[in-house]
């Protein structure tokens, strides 16, 4: 067998490591501020969710399910959520939910403007698209390493890694949604003397809303799946229970926590999908 010639050897990873170290040396202040901001948001959401009586959340899920799906779904979601409490995993679920919600909120804050920018500029699209491809194909725990280097252990790097992982769908679908708005409609907006901003806010965003909602749904789902992986850097929550259960080969513990994650995923998915459907604009 022919082996690849050894003298042609070049390792890229080392430069990435150097780059990350350079970032750390020169931008430590920036990361510390970022750390504080994320932590602040996260703790607010976390303490709110833990303060919230369990039955309020169950009722909320029931009403949302009823409003955006139907009565049967509402009852089913409320029952499933109660099941998590029955398993004794309510507190852990709230911690997980806090990370998911914070990550999703920050992802939208970042992703919507980037998506809009992409739809307006072909150059930005050329740059951003391969980055998004990389973000989606890279094994997700790879993000944990730089996240840990920048933010140490705990919830903040988990949020950071989750954002990196969950960001692409909302960017892609915002871009797609705005680009698919009918050309005539955009022309009509401009023909009546709208500025670019007015066209965006009054025509393009409302038209793209159903697609953007699908993006938000996808982002939420990916954030939820990332939370399990983020437990590898010591984040308390459902993911950690699963991980610990597998480590100790305690199937019962792993199963309850795993099922809770599935329940959470189903509820969030169906409700956000239901909201997205409500915004669908009937075709001509």
């Amino acid at each position: 067998m022919q082996t690849f010639p050894e003298f042609i050897s070049f390792k890229l990873g080392i430069y990435v490591e150097i780059f990350v170290e350079w970032l750390l040396d020169n931008f430590m202040g920036f990361f510390e501020v970022l750390n504080k901001v994320i932590l602040f948001c996260l703790l607010k959401v976390d303490s709110f969710l833990h303060w919230l009586p369990w039955w309020v959340l169950v009722l909320l899920v029931f009403f949302l399910g009823w409003r955006y799906k139907n009565l049967k779904s509402g009852i089913f979601y409320a029952f499933s959520l109660s099941l998590i409490g029955v398993f004794g995993l309510w507190e852990l679920t709230m911690s997980t939910l806090a990370i998911v919600l914070t990550s999703v909120a920050l992802s939208l804050l970042l992703g919507l403007p980037i998506g809009i920018w992409m739809s307006y500029s072909a150059k930005v699209e050329v740059v951003v698209k391969p980055i998004l491809d990389a973000m989606q194909t890279m094994p997700s725990f790879v993000y944990l390493i730089p996240a840990m280097m920048f933010f140490g252990l705990g919830m903040v790097p988990a949020v950071f890694a989750t954002i990196v992982y969950a960001l692409p769908p909302v960017i892609r679908l915002t871009n797609l949604g705005i680009k698919s708005v009918s050309r005539e409609m955009v022309e009509a907006a401009y023909a009546f003397g709208s500025s670019s901003w007015q066209t965006l806010v009054k025509v393009q965003l409302p038209q793209a809303l159903p697609t953007i909602m699908t993006g938000i749904n996808q982002t939420t789902m990916m954030a939820l799946s990332m939370v399990v992986i983020a437990s590898m850097i010591g984040v308390k929550g459902l993911g950690y229970e699963v991980l610990a259960g597998i480590g100790r080969i305690e199937i019962a513990q792993a199963f309850d926590a795993g099922l809770s994650i599935v329940i959470l995923a189903i509820i969030i998915d169906r409700i956000t999908q239901g909201i997205a459907d409500k915004y669908k604009i009937p075709e001509q």
Partner: protein, 394 residues
């Protein structure tokens, strides 16, 4: 009528680096060579024309002839590569962003082929849009929008959404949205092409009605010759980005400048374009009311006809005398007044040939064309009506 829109040497080239391509085009290179070598498409090539105030100016051409591109230059949705567009004397090509927005908000409005309605807004919300952009206070714009919707016959549909309306109704909304801004100029991009024939005819008539009341300057795009000739005060025929001929429908129909135009207009139903004045001719014989039957007989004999129109000294039409009556009257020394007939058909010069057909096919005598003072302008015989159906009258 004063000139509202004046377009001078307008050229639009799509693709990269249009200025360089423009130079090649001006050197006389063909559009095909340019497309092959640079990949640029020449949308419109050195087009000049004028549109008068309160006129319906129709731009007609096949798809790909550049008519939509040309229309979109008039509100700068397409920015021309070269040339000037003067509207009320000011060159819109030089407008800065703010001026352009103001111009679009106040002077010009557009109606689209596929309506371009905002599907997330109600009908009222659509019609309000232009006013909203102009910062008209909400109560006022609702009022204007409601009134405009009533003008196009859509009162009561304010709270519906576009998907709940039929195509014809949607285009009424499109028209109302444009009219609500009270623009001087209406740009209409094949507005009725997407509608079925019955609705299309209805909308054409309605547009003419609205135009009679509001008197806008309308630039109307269509690929349908019959529509162009029906609506247009003047028509421009475009081919491959250039204007082949501009003129009134009659001029184009009767004096096509080249074979392309001839081919283009051959399917036209000429009876819908030609009017009485286009096919009438000067009577070969005419008798004054003061003359006696003898003069009438002589006139008819000379012209070889069996009836003749009688006019007074103002050339106003008095009646008709037949050869039989004149021959009978002559020995009895009767006057012409005593033997005048009135059972002939009288028409105005603007009557379309289409409407003359029934009268022409049954009438015993020629049709008389008279102006509003009843002055005889000319006569139409059956054969001239029929020949108008077949080929050019000149």
């Amino acid at each position: 009528m004063s000139v509202k829109i004046k377009v001078e040497n307008l050229t639009k080239i799509f693709g990269r680096n249009p200025k360089a391509v423009l130079k090649r085009l001006q050197k006389g290179e063909s559009k095909e060579t340019i497309l092959k070598e640079t990949g640029n498409t020449v949308g419109i090539n050195n087009v000049s024309f004028e549109v008068k105030e309160e006129e319906i100016f129709v731009i007609m051409g096949l798809s790909g002839s550049g008519k939509s591109t040309l229309l979109r230059c008039l509100n700068l949705l397409n920015v021309p590569t070269a040339g000037n567009i003067y509207i009320d004397g000011s060159n819109i090509v030089e407008y800065k962003k703010k001026e352009l927005r103001e111009f679009r908000q106040k002077k010009v409005a557009m109606v689209f082929q596929h309506f371009g309605l905002f599907t997330h807004r109600t009908i009222l919300g659509n019609v309000e849009y232009g006013l909203e952009i102009r910062d008209v206070p909400p109560e006022q714009r609702v009022e204007i929008a409601r009134e405009t919707l009533a003008t196009v016959g859509l009162a009561g549909w304010e709270d519906k959404y576009p998907h709940q309306l039929s195509g014809g109704m949607c285009q009424r909304v499109g028209l109302a949205r444009a009219l609500a801004n009270d623009p001087d100029i209406l740009l209409m991009d094949e507005p009725f092409s997407a509608l079925d024939p019955l609705i299309r005819r209805e909308m054409q008539v309605e547009l003419l009605d609205i135009q009679a009341k509001l008197k806008k300057t309308i630039v109307f795009i269509t690929h349908d010759v019959n529509e162009a000739f029906k609506l247009g005060d003047r028509v421009a025929v475009m081919k491959e980005g250039e204007i082949e001929q501009i003129g009134t429908p009659e001029e184009i129909l009767t004096h096509p400048v080249n074979d392309y135009i001839t081919n283009f207009v051959q399917d036209v139903d000429k009876t819908k374009v030609l009017q009485a004045k286009h096919i009438m001719f000067k009577p070969g014989a005419l008798v004054s009311i003061k003359d006696g039957p003898k003069v009438a007989i002589k006139e008819m004999k000379n012209a070889g006809i069996s009836s003749v129109f009688v006019v007074d000294d103002q050339r106003r039409l008095c009646g008709l005398v037949t050869i039989d009556d004149a021959l009978k009257a002559s020995p009895k020394h009767q006057k012409l007044e005593d033997i005048l007939l009135n059972d002939y058909f009288v028409t105005a010069p603007e009557t379309y040939v289409e409407d003359l057909l029934p009268a022409a096919s049954t009438a015993k005598y020629p049709l008389a064309v008279v102006d509003k003072h009843h002055k005889l302008l000319g006569i139409i015989v059956r054969v001239s009506v029929l020949s108008a159906l077949v080929h050019e009258t000149t």
